[in-house]
Subunit: 187 residues, 2 copies
């Protein structure tokens, strides 16, 4: 009907956005191709043209999340300083993911985990790298690990929509985490 140049977003992105939104609305296990197509303003055929299978769609969601986080980390590099730099990158990148439409991008993890846990392999790989980086480059690896995990834990609670934290609570935790990275943990 309309060409692929209509609007600013590509069909691919609109589909991924639609899928991410739907996950938080209907639950990760209730994500259907029909619903995604409708939300994205496409027919089911059009959807299956862009992603030849549901698994391909989920892979796309995961990949976008991985790429987005990685890009955010690199964008922050150079803008941040202080000890335990790698941990700071992780912390701030994770926090950035809570803003804008990036928040829902992480829903791809839930959808993939729901359908086929094997699809999380790219995430495993990233986490492994992050852990290695943190352990080898941090001035205080213990503090770096705890700080990273704390933010990861907070994001995880929000991802599942079970976070009891208010915005004030969140800021408080962020400050505490930064203090931990400043002070360190060892004597």
């Amino acid at each position: 009907m309309f060409g692929c140049i209509r609007g600013r977003k590509s069909s691919r992105e609109k589909i991924l956005d639609a899928a991410a939104e739907l996950v938080s609305e209907v639950g990760s296990g209730r994500l259907t191709l029909d619903a995604v197509a409708e939300r994205a303003g496409l027919s089911k055929g059009g959807l299956l043209y862009n992603f030849p299978s549901k698994e391909a769609l989920l892979q796309g969601m995961i990949q976008r999340m991985v790429d987005e986080v990685s890009a955010e980390r690199e964008a922050l590099r150079g803008k941040l300083g202080g000890p335990n730099l790698e941990a700071r990158l992780c912390v701030n990148a994770a926090l950035k993911m809570r803003t804008g439409n990036m928040k829902e991008i992480s829903n791809g993890m839930l959808a993939a985990s729901s359908e086929n846990p094997r699809l999380l392999e790219p995430v495993r790989h990233v986490l492994k790298d992050v852990l290695e980086h943190l352990k080898t480059t941090s001035e205080d690896a213990d503090a770096a690990l705890v700080a990273w995990l704390a933010v990861e834990g907070m994001c995880s609670l929000e991802l599942h929509d079970i976070s009891p934290f208010s915005e004030q609570d969140r800021e408080r935790v962020v400050k505490a985490v930064n203090r931990l990275l400043d002070k360190g943990l060892s004597e």
Copy 2:
């Protein structure tokens, strides 16, 4: 209601175990009543006798998890000391959940989140209470929050089966968290 308390497991428990196992094998969104029945060594009719609907089964999984954690916390109370006691209870209870078959009990969260996020309401309640307790009773609330979140983050990674941590890494994190609770975070 609670039939065989001694010796053999009740059908209810076998069903809940089977469901929890299946979640980590096939994915939280692929959990079917037929599969649960087969794994539990029951017919589908027998399963539906114990849990009249799939939602009831998921509720049962969630409730068992909540009860189990709560029991673990109370069992630890009195056996632990030092500052920030509530945080220590949370940390150690969460760690205990990683052992034995308790590890898979948490899979109920994934299954419920996948099918109907509303079923996580009991979990929200618990988390809200925990946060309140931590904020009001801790000597160093900041340290308590960070410590709690760090362990929660680690458990979350394992729940999704994407944890990059070795057993040594885990012990290291646990020690670091305990050090944080000992030392505190404020000056």
